[in-house]
């Protein structure tokens, strides 16, 4: 009886959520202590830290979508991405810092999917922060063991003729998937194509949208 009047229910009829009045964890307290010491000793400033957070928050999957759309349409850029994706994305105007990037190309015959089994390595300097599930133990453990089952749960069912290739991002490199270009988009502009490129399609847990899906 979710909409009965009751003291434990909010006016919307749902239970009130408990406040998170819990003590800081050891590492939360450590982070605050180190940050305050760095500011106190003049190593950095609160403004610099806020600016860095703003820079990271400004990075979104739309950056990657523009890269993918250009990869699909601009042969010289495609060659540059194959030669060195870090150099090519920087030249396109993205501040990716020291990130070392590899672009892996999916086709009808090969589907790439990215995971970091050891932690949560992700091309965040291009795409922004990863989705929460990317860091979950279930995604990390299962993607290397049963990628097709994981893909099916994301709604991607691949034919047996398509090889699945899992990229375990274990060390210095970061990976962006270039999803297969949807059929029926031959004459599309880069901006129009970019609207087909989802975050998940650049992780490999999704495909680029079809023109019909966009309509």
């Amino acid at each position: 009886m979710p909409h009965d009047h009751h003291e434990h229910l909010s006016p919307s009829g749902h239970p009130f959520r408990a406040d998170n009045d819990v003590p800081l964890t050891y590492w939360q307290a450590m982070e605050i202590a180190v940050r305050e010491l760095l500011i106190e000793k003049g190593v950095t400033t609160a403004a610099e830290i806020a600016a860095q957070i703003d820079t990271m928050d400004a990075r979104t999957p739309s950056n990657g979508a523009a890269v993918v759309a250009r990869f699909w349409t601009d042969p010289a850029f495609r060659d540059a991405m194959r030669a060195d994706a870090s150099v090519a994305t920087r030249a396109m105007g993205y501040d990716i810092g020291p990130m070392k990037l590899i672009a892996v190309e999916s086709t009808a015959d090969l589907h790439n999917i990215v995971v970091c089994t050891l932690c949560s390595c992700y091309p965040r300097n291009l795409l922004g922060l990863p989705p929460d599930w990317y860091k979950s133990r279930a995604y990390r453990a299962r993607t290397v063991r049963e990628p097709r089952s994981v893909l099916a749960e994301f709604g991607v069912v691949l034919p047996a003729s398509t090889q699945v290739r899992v990229h375990d991002s274990t060390a210095d490199m970061r990976y962006i998937v270039i999803p297969a270009r949807p059929a029926g988009t031959q004459d599309w502009t880069q901006d129009a194509l970019a609207a087909l490129v989802t975050r998940d399609s650049m992780i490999g847990t999704g495909l680029a949208k079809s023109p019909e899906a966009l309509a």
Partner: protein
């Protein structure tokens, strides 16, 4: 490039970036990157020895044996040179 390599089957303590599920498995070098500083030393504030970093490709059949979901699917990981031995 299709040089066959085996990942050392060792299980040392410390900060190791060679996934345990790949140790002892045989793959082929897909490409070589680096050199990059050895993270096993960097993690303990020592100077990291510059090492080649190899992207090694394995079949699911090699990694998971009879439990492989699809034996011909593949997995690639970055492995530092000192973890590889010739087959």
């Amino acid at each position: 490039m299709s040089e066959q390599v085996r990942i050392r089957p060792d299980m040392p303590p410390g900060h190791i970036r060679t996934p345990a599920y790949l140790r002892g498995k045989v793959g082929v070098i897909e490409r070589t990157l680096g050199p990059f500083a050895n993270p096993e030393q960097l993690a303990y504030r020592r100077n990291g020895e510059p090492l080649p970093l190899h992207r090694v490709r394995f079949t699911m059949a090699e990694v998971w044996g009879a439990h492989a979901e699809t034996p011909t699917d593949t997995i690639e990981a970055e492995i530092y040179a000192h973890w590889l031995e010739p087959v």
